[in-house]
Symmetry: C2
Subunit: 161 residues, 2 copies
Amino acid sequence: MLIRELTPTECADVLQRTILGRLACTRDGYPYVVPVHFSFDVERACVYGFSAVGQKVHWMRANPRVCLEVEEVTNKDQWRTVLIFGRYEEIQESPEEAEARQRALDRFRQRPEWWLPAGATVESRHPEAAVVYRIQIERVTGRQAMRRTLPETPGINRQRD
Amino acid sequence: MLIRELTPTECADVLQRTILGRLACTRDGYPYVVPVHFSFDVERACVYGFSAVGQKVHWMRANPRVCLEVEEVTNKDQWRTVLIFGRYEEIQESPEEAEARQRALDRFRQRPEWWLPAGATVESRHPEAAVVYRIQIERVTGRQAMRRTLPETPGINRQRD
């Protein structure tokens, strides 16, 4: 197997095709990582998410530095992974944030199933305690694994036939 | 959708059925999360992994507190997630660690494809720079999401037929 770095364009392609990632945050030297649904906004270099207010949100409010991991796995030796390093920001229900919030909500509505997981959690806890957030992207890296294949040798193949 | 906590036994069941997780670590207030293959050792309350020496290993050497996230996804509203909170420890090539190292290696050999990703990375960097490690489990939590289904009402169904 060969592993190579993805270009920024290839990383963006993976982020646009993907809606599930794993979001890591940290507090007092402890890491925490959970699966999240997200939507990538290439024009604004951010991803949007929606969450009930639980440990993840409490920790990201205390320390907004996050790392989002995204995978595209074809099989065990053909995969791409992308890591986003960025900053957590809540998108408030304020006049200043109205346009950004609408932009995020429009993306969620294009994929209505997104509401379900966060909504279910919210419903069972505190109906009012949900946040819309963005992760402002500061750096992106990506890797691709490929099978190591020998170059085609038609002459040899023909001799075999 | 309903979300409930998994019991410790149910968490262990998920860990025994799964070989891919996402390992989060942290350094100087920054989180880092990458996919890893692992093997769960229920008797010793740990998971084993194998890695090239890169950023992940450097960070875990500096701060051994880690969080491993594991998923079993049936579909978007039927899934289980398990989080392990624990401590990173390298299993050295020493007489004291010989038995533990053999135990970890035996598990890797039962699934030979595990060697490939780490091996490929090693090969392209420093052939000697690979580590076998365990994550000593300190705490495990798990969640299950299920569809919210109404109870069967045969009388009403019969009237419809």
